[in-house]
Amino acid sequence: MLVKLVTEVDLNEAFHYLQDPGAGGIDLFVGTVRNHAHGKEVVKLVFEAYAPMALKEMQKLAVAAQQQWPIEKLVILHAVGEKLVGEPVVIIGVASAHREVAFTACRFLIDELKKTVPIWKKEYYQDNSVWVNAHP
């Protein structure tokens, strides 16, 4: 598995790592910065991570996925720092013999990452900024 926090997530790095003679299907999810959220225009995002714990939690998710499904290769890359609209911030990739596994495991990994990995996103709008999910 390839699990990293980086300043720039690299789709080619992910794909080259995932290419495998035993893989028939590779699913790649790329989260990108959207220009609107909660009805407001977003200017940029800033990501902050508790790096050692974030890596540990991402590795746990990778292991959980590998225990549940027959996975050939698996990638989790997450960006930290400032990201502008349209830029990629997270890449999840799963290579498997069959595409069902690639889709299902990829979906599992991004869903769980958003629940448990200690990374925080601050959304900057024209007039203010907010730590996402911080308040009810």
Binding site: A49, K56, K114, V117, W120
Partner: protein, 79 residues
Amino acid sequence: MEILLFGITREIVGESTLTVEPEETLQTVGQLKAWLGQRYPALQKLSSLAVAVDSEYADDAQPLSPGQEVALIPPVSGG
């Protein structure tokens, strides 16, 4: 004891590390959370507040001891 702070908890406290003096005698994660909530009422308004000990999520009963790495984990929002 040093507490690592991230995201909104760093902004609420105004620093990226909070030092808790030994005389506060906080023996568990639960006691630490109660102490923090009193000193920084804004922490109580968060959707959730977890504590990590040695970079693992810890429940309220977990004992605290010197030399551990302790961190506050406000609601995560990666991805």
